[in-house]
Amino acid sequence: MLTVQFLLLAAILFAIGVYGVLARKNAVMVLMSIELILNAVNLNLIAFANRLQSIDGNTFALYVIAIAAAEVGVGLAMVLLIFRNRRSIALDELSEMKG
């Protein structure tokens, strides 16, 4: 099977996602990058499930999709609130959590 190719694709997606999370300033872009990371993980899970002929990975991927949907919902709501309060969603301007 194409397990290796799947894993490579997942690794590339993951790397792009990490880059996005670390480098982008726009909060929406960061959320999208997180989606990429999650889907990279899903790809891994399904690739291994396919290779091992086990249903567990698929099941787990379904859970991840559900949780990702919830996470995006919460994340976008937060972004929306931040935008309403500050008229901006640039993350480098947000440092209220500084200890």
Partner: protein, 796 residues
């Protein structure tokens, strides 16, 4: 060995009523809930629900009884051929219809709930449902206008549900459940008119006295469960609570004798409490404080036979545990014998008509116990059956007298007399039932009581046979006295038409719990006194007539004098003492009805004279016994005539004495107890009920409770306070040292040091908390990468 080929068994259809007998207690239980929640809104205040549910139960019980008879007949016909081959004539073992569901589980032990239907259970089911129906119909009139009318019917219905579920219990747990429900309802119903202090006291007394015995029920069940569980699980696949399992275990020969003995003794102590046996009988006469229908249903015909039923239900345990055949005296027979005589003597000095009946009930329960204790299982069970009819009838007749004849008074000496002319129907039913109770041929009491006495003698308990005959004499005598005082002679008090509102004023103070009348909570018919005694309405007389007719004919159900074809009770109720293959007798799954009939592998054990078969030999491997081979006395007219003669002497002598004493005022008799010191002493001894109440309240309660209280106080003052004070001093000193050394130096030092350390670390890590999300993300991923790296290194 014939066992292998002959002890086969076949499936036999049980029939709808038998398989669904568990519905019988469900109906009144549902009716109880409906009465409690909606009763007051219904047109008849909930009483219609109670009556309807009891009639529904009765129909189901009669249907089940009919199908049971068919089942036994079918088994007998089916097995005739195979018995011919075996050469025996003993009856086949007709398996009970058992269904059991898991009720709850705890620690791997399953507690079942369900039904165990056999002849004994069906006898009681029919009797309880029948008497309950009649008593509820009677109560419609008797309690009309009562202030707690709805609650009365609710409690009566709940009682019936409890009793019915106890009767068809397949295991001890359900039996205890029903037993306790009955105890609760007994308490509620005795104290129905709780505004009167005496009634509330009587209710409490009944409850607590019975509870003393109930401890035995729990202990006995526990002993039997822990001793029998392993055996029953292995051989029958049921738990040690199962009644069939316990019976088989007791008969198996593998049971430990001491466990059987102590289990039987503990269970019998519960029976002593519930069935009013000596020395815990004192609650039953006081329980007459309840309304008369309650006395009739709970405290004479049904609830108080629960103890007798328990002994009959797990009879093998008592049979083996107390070695009923091997001896000529045992615990059950002794208690039963004592109870017969002492209760019958007490009935002579009562003024209250219901108390005479109460002591009579205690005495008759003594007969049943004596019968069971002496191996006369069938006559004892048959006596439950016949006694229920005539004793319920007597109580209801007494209630009818007080309702319409004596203005709610139960005092025979003050407010009754000469009522036979005014209340002919009540008087007739009373007299019929009295003769049945006394055991006059051919009324029902003769066939059951005489059988008990006869069989007790037959089984080697000669001394108790004489006790039984004395009891028969006393029974006839006190009932003749009560009959004379109530229905004959001159009319006195309320019976003479005198209207007096304050019955209580003339009361003796030396028996404060003795009450002479029902203090009704209703004002609806205070007009009775105005026009004197009269016959009761139809709702009261019809149940009386039905019960009196049954008191006449019920004995024919097992009329031994007329030959074995009349012994229907023996055929349908007594289990066969046959070896049955173990695996064929137990249900294969939960809730599944057992429809199996087995029959004996060999011919022995048929007639009791041949001392062989179940209970004399251990059953063969793979087979079990469910019932011991009890022997039956052959009826002889010489014995029957002897007891009839004794009864006649009792009736006539007491009647003549009553006429002379109460009406003619014969000089030689009146005041005899004042003149003779011996008689005076005897009278006082009886009047004070053998001083048992004094013993319990003044001595046992005081001897146990007071010293315990005093000792507890002393212990409290000296030991506990001393310990507390000393420990306080010590702890104070220790605390001072601890404070100075440990607290100040060690603990505070540690706290301060760790605080400083935390502060330093915090200062060092502070720059990381930049507040920048991207930076946090970077840290997260870096940590994840390091973690992954570590995992890789560890795994390679």
């Amino acid at each position: 060995m014939l066992a292998a080929e002959a002890s086969h068994s076949v499936s036999q259809s049980a029939g709808w009523f038998l398989e669904n007998a568990w519905l019988i207690p469900i109906i009144p239980a549902v009716a109880f809930a409906l009465i409690i929640f909606f009763g007051k809104k219904l047109p008849m205040k909930g009483s219609e629900l109670g009556v309807a549910s009891m009639i529904g139960s009765l129909i189901l019980a009669l249907g089940a009884a009919y199908q049971w008879i068919q089942r036994v007949d079918g088994a007998a016909g089916h097995s005739a051929a195979s018995l011919m081959k075996a050469g025996g004539e003993s009856s086949p073992f007709v398996g009970p219809v058992i269904r059991e569901w898991t009720w709850w589980q705890s620690g791997g032990v399953e507690f079942g709930i369900g039904q165990h239907i056999d002849g004994l259970a069906l006898t009681l089911l029919v009797v309880v449902a029948f008497i309950s129906s009649l008593v509820q119909i009677y109560s419609l009139e008797y309690l009309r206008g009562d202030r707690r009318y709805t609650h009365f019917f609710a409690a009566l219905t709940l009682f019936s549900a409890g009793m019915l579920s106890m009767v068809l219990a397949p295991n001890m747990v359900q039996l205890i459940l029903g037993w306790e429900i009955m105890g609760l309802c007994s308490f509620m119903l005795i104290g129905h008119w709780w505004e009167d202090q005496a009634n509330a006291r009587a209710a409490l007394k009944a409850f607590f006295t019975v509870r003393v015995g109930d401890v035995g029920l729990l202990v006995g069940t526990g002993i039997l469960f822990f001793s029998a569980n392993a055996w029953t699980q292995q051989n029958l696949g049921v738990s040690g609570f199962n009644i069939s399992g316990l019976s088989a275990w007791a008969m198996s020969g593998d049971a430990s004798q001491s466990a059987l003995t102590w289990g039987a003794v503990a269970l019998f102590i519960a029976c002593i409490g519930k069935s009013g046996q000596f020395p815990l009988h004192t609650w039953l006469p006081d329980a007459m404080a309840g309304p008369t229908p309650v006395s009739s249903l709970l405290h004479s015909s049904t609830m108080v036979v629960a103890g007798v039923f328990l002994v009959a239900r797990v009879y093998p345990v008592f049979w083996e545990g107390l070695e009923i055949t091997g001896t000529n005296i045992n615990f059950i027979a002794l208690i039963g014998g004592i109870t017969i005589v002492i209760a019958a003597l007490l009935a002579f000095v009562q003024h209250d008509i219901k108390k005479v009946l109460a002591y009579s009930t205690v005495s008759q329960l003594g007969y049943m116990m004596l019968g069971l204790g002496a191996g006369a299982w069938l006559p004892a069970v048959f006596h439950i059956f016949t006694h229920a009819f005539f004793k319920a009838c007597l109580f209801l007749a007494a209630g009818s007298v007080s309702h319409s004849g004596s203005h709610h008074s139960f005092d025979m000496k003050k407010d009754m007399g000469g009522l036979a002319k005014k209340m002919p129907l009540t008087a007739t039913t009373w007299i019929v039932s009295t003769l049945a109770l006394a055991g006059v041929f051919p009324l029902s009491g003769f066939f059951s009581k005489d059988e008990i006495i006869d069989n007790v003698g037959h089984n080697g308990y000669q001394a108790f046979m004489i006790v039984g005959l004395c009891g028969a004499f006393l029974t006839a005598a006190y009932m003749a006295r009560a009959t004379y005082l109530t229905f004959f002679g001159e009319a006195r008090g309320a019976a003479a038409g005198e209207h007096h509102d304050e019955h209580a004023t003339g009361h003796d103070d030396d028996h404060a719990d003795d009450h002479g009348h029902d203090v009704h909570g209703h004002d609806a018919h205070d007009d009775h006194g105005a026009h004197g005694p009269h016959e009761s309405p139809k709702l009261i007389t019809i149940p009386l007539v039905i019960l009196a007719s049954l008191a006449i004919v019920a004995g024919l159900a097992n009329a031994t004098p007329f030959g074995s074809s009349w012994e229907r009770f023996k055929k349908y109720v007594e289990p066969s003492p046959a070896y049955v293959a173990a695996e064929s007798t137990m249900a294969s799954g939960p809730g599944e009805a057992i429809t199996v009939v087995g029959w004996p592998s060999a011919s022995e054990g048929g007639e009791g004279e041949a001392k062989a078969g179940c209970s004399y030999e251990t059953p063969p491997v793979g087979e079990v016994c469910y019932f011991p081979a009890v022997s039956h006395a052959k009826f002889k007219w010489s014995k029957g005539l002897l007891s009839l003669g004794i009864v006649a002497v009792g009736l006539v002598s007491s009647w003549v004495f009553s006429v002379q004493y109460y009406t003619r005022r014969n000089r030689r008799l009146v005041g005899l107890t004042e003149r003779s010191r011996v008689l005076r002493g005897g009278y006082l001894f009886l009047w004070n009920k053998y001083y048992l109440d004094v013993l319990y309240e003044k001595f046992i309660v005081r001897a146990v409770a007071y010293p315990i209280a005093r000792a507890a106080n002393w212990f409290n003052q000296n030991v506990i306070d001393g310990v507390v004070n000393a420990s306080a001093r010590i702890s104070r000193r220790v605390a001072g040292w601890v404070y100075r050394n440990i607290d100040q130096r060690v603990v505070d030092g540690a706290v301060n040091t760790s605080g400083a350390a935390a502060r330093g670390t915090g200062g060092a890590l502070r720059p990381i908390q930049s507040g920048k999300v991207n930076q946090y993300g970077a840290l997260l991923f870096a940590a994840a990468a390091i973690g992954a790296l570590v995992l890789v290194i560890i795994n390679t």
